[in-house]
């Protein structure tokens, strides 16, 4: 007798990736030999001390359990359930999380499925293997300047500046940008998740020759170890990265000439209005575009310190992963996932309607370049095409709206789940 589990509606290995947000799964008897009738099974983590861990739900919303008992029809009809990564127990390698199907009749396993609890982590704490997989995927995407990375570089230039900055859509646009890049990295290596540079803390493991490199003291050219594939990084036809920190990367957080980036708790406080009592609102929170976001950028000299050239440096994406994480954590802390309320996002509606702003920055607007719109006021070309698809979720679709970035975990609407999570931002069901 054998049983098997499928995830995300797909039986292939490519779908066996979960985050903290619950995903639909199915279990069925694939070989009912010996089954006299319905078979009682228990799903559990095969090894509670090693690898990624998952939790189980019989229905949503519901309480997570360390295991789940189900009854399987002998004819092989699948039974639906849900599972998610256990918060703070992510995988460190592909397939290191194993769900075991145990027959309760004899307490024997009748099936095991490997998956990965794939989470965006603090880059400073990655294992060597995680780091190397990320660097390899990045280098292959870049392909010495000839790869698909060129599109990501070409998106984030002066031409695209008004689509991505200076307005309400700054956080969602960059969330979409990172998501697109991450999905492209995952096409190369599905075990890769984009890590973040936690810039309000020292990150000594990040700024080494084996990772994001160290600067040549006289030229600022970033030097890499002989085994680091980023040494072949090229953009705009020229190899190399120029980046020199204004702070001690081994002992300090990102610090510009007007001081360090504000801390994570201080960043959350930006969201408070001046009313009495104060409330957290999106339009206040997005002041973080200045400090810590802008401050982190200008805590270096070199490409990353300027919009026109920032995306030439792979560090840009780790920097912005942290910017996105801060928004995600603020959302979770203040339960700001409802894209129809101004506390979660504003302005609401589509460009042109009352109270809205420039197109591309309102909740119902689609976002360039994924919408492939190139008529003014949008830029003249749209590099890279539509949003990369995912086997794990249909969201946000090929042409995402600003609003589709808000409920990224599917807290309010499961179908909104975008398929990524941060290691320190859990999933919680709505409190109402």
């Amino acid at each position: 007798m054998r049983a098997e589990i499928t995830f995300n509606g797909d039986a292939t290995a490519a779908s066996r990736y979960v985050g903290w947000a619950p995903v639909p799964a199915q279990v069925r008897l694939s070989d009912p030999t010996g089954a006299m009738g319905p078979v009682s099974v228990r799903l559990r983590n095969q090894n509670a001390t090693r690898g990624g861990q998952v939790v189980f739900f019989s229905a949503l919303p519901g309480t997570a359990g360390d295991d789940l008992r189900l009854t399987l029809p002998p004819v092989g009809t699948p039974v639906q359930f849900f599972l998610a990564g256990r918060f703070q127990r992510p995988s460190i390698a592909d397939g290191d999380a194993n769900v075991q199907i145990i027959s309760t009749a004899n307490d024997q396993p009748i099936g095991t499925t490997s998956l990965m609890v794939r989470i965006r982590k603090n880059a400073n704490t990655l294992t060597t293997a995680e780091r190397n997989r990320l660097l390899a995927a990045f280098a292959i995407l870049n392909d010495r300047g000839m790869g698909r990375f060129a599109d990501f570089r070409n998106i984030h230039t002066s031409a695209g500046d008004p689509e991505a900055h200076q307005n309400a859509g700054f956080p969602p646009w960059h969330r979409a940008y990172l998501l697109d890049l991450e999905r492209e990295l995952q096409r190369i290596d599905p075990s890769v998740a984009l890590p973040y540079w936690r810039f309000d803390q020292p990150a000594p493991n990040l700024f080494t020759r084996d990772f994001m490199g160290v600067p040549d003291p006289s030229t600022g050219r970033v030097l890499f170890g002989a085994a680091n594939p980023l040494q072949f990084w090229a953009t705009d036809g020229v190899p190399g990265i120029v980046r020199r920190p204004r702070f001690n990367t081994q002992t300090q957080p990102a610090t510009s000439l007007q001081g360090p980036v504000i801390t994570e708790p201080e960043t959350f406080q930006l969201g408070l209005t001046a009313t009495s009592p104060p409330v957290h609102r999106y339009r206040r929170f997005r002041r973080y575009e200045g400090n810590p976001h802008g401050t982190a950028h200008v805590s270096f000299t070199g490409s990353v310190s300027q919009i026109a050239t920032a995306a030439k440096d792979p560090l840009f994406f780790l920097l912005h992963a942290n910017v996105d994480r801060l928004w995600a954590k603020w959302q979770w802390l203040n339960r700001r996932f409802d894209g129809n309320t101004t506390s979660s996002f504003e302005p609401l509606g589509a460009a042109g309607s009352p109270g809205t702003t420039r197109v591309g920055h309102n909740s119902n607007d689609t976002m360039w370049p994924w919408n492939q719109v190139t008529t003014p006021p949008r830029p003249p070309t749209a590099p890279g095409g539509t949003m990369a698809p995912s086997l794990l979720t249909a969201a946000p679709g090929p042409s995402p709206t600003v609003g589709s970035m808000i409920d990224y975990q599917g807290v309010r609407t499961a179908a909104s789940r975008l398929g990524f999570d941060y290691d320190d931002v859990p999933f919680e069901f709505p409190s109402n």
Partner: protein, 394 residues
Amino acid sequence: METRESAQRLDHETSEQEFAEFVDRARRELDSQRLVELLPERTPVYQRRSANTVNRMRGYLLAAFEAAGLPEEALPYVLEELESGRNAYLVAAAARALRGRESRSSDAVPFLLRAIENIKYADDAVSFDSYRPSWPAPRHATALQEIADTFAWLGSEASSARPVLQSLLEEPGVLSESARAKLESVVSEPSVGGSRRAVRASSPCCAHHAESARPDIHQVRTRTEVPASVELEDQDGTRVKFGEFFTSKPSVVAFFYTRCDNPNKCSLTITKLGRFQRRLADLGLDGRIQTAAITYDPEFDLPARLRAYGENRGVVFSPSDRLFRTKGALAPLEGYFELGVSFGATLVNQHRIELFLLDQQAQVVSALTRLQWDIEEVLAQAARLAEPDDSPPQ
């Protein structure tokens, strides 16, 4: 008898100072024809210089038309910068040049509005007081200010721009105070205008331009000998002779290079080529019309670069749809197509947008150059080429 100074004596060894003095003299003497001679990209004076040097030279040249007068043959160059330029100095110069026209005409309005879109987030401080101003400059303008000045000069001819200018005025943080003030006066009092030169109202000679939305950019070439033996290599590394590929079917061929840094030019051209391919397929013409693009930068644009560039812009490849580089010099094609391109020591330093329609004998039957070509317009022309030829044999 005084010999009129000719631009033909200027070449790549001419110093920039000499060039500037030539332009200054022509401007003072109101000799716009001398300036017109310097407009074509292939003029020797632009060879072997950096792109920024050429931009400065051309910008200084365009700005001089304000005083010297802007002849109609110079107009496409001005409109090109307004429509597709992203360099504030050149855009400012082009806006200035328009004020040298004999008559004010609303046909320039769409181009000025397009220039605003191109430059409003990348405006810069510019000065035409001298060829090489030093900074801090005693005074400077910006591209948006120059565009605003030209709208003010157009007066009532700019009335169609009022709604767009009004929404620009409502967009926060884009306009400097001086540009805002000028545009506010345009929007509120469209009859405001002034000129440093005596301006005639629209005269019979220029009336047809006032009626047309844009100049005719289609040029029909005379038949010339096909460079059949030029070897091409495509995005897969497959080699074919020019004559072999371009005499199999009618073709649409563009020129580009992957290191072009103006998204309104090569990137947009290849993106449009991809869209054109899809329209051909919609109409069932994809088997009957070939599409191709040839790089100006054959040594750098290796096959892998060509493929990546095309794929990333939606181009679909097939035996009839390819991106090429020449295996060898580009010169034979430069001559055959009369390309509008010039080169620094190693790299393109300026080029125009150019798209050609070739018949089945590889003869250029239509050249759409300088201004943005319209996909549907090209489709119509290509469809006619693809029709069976019922004319009696020669």
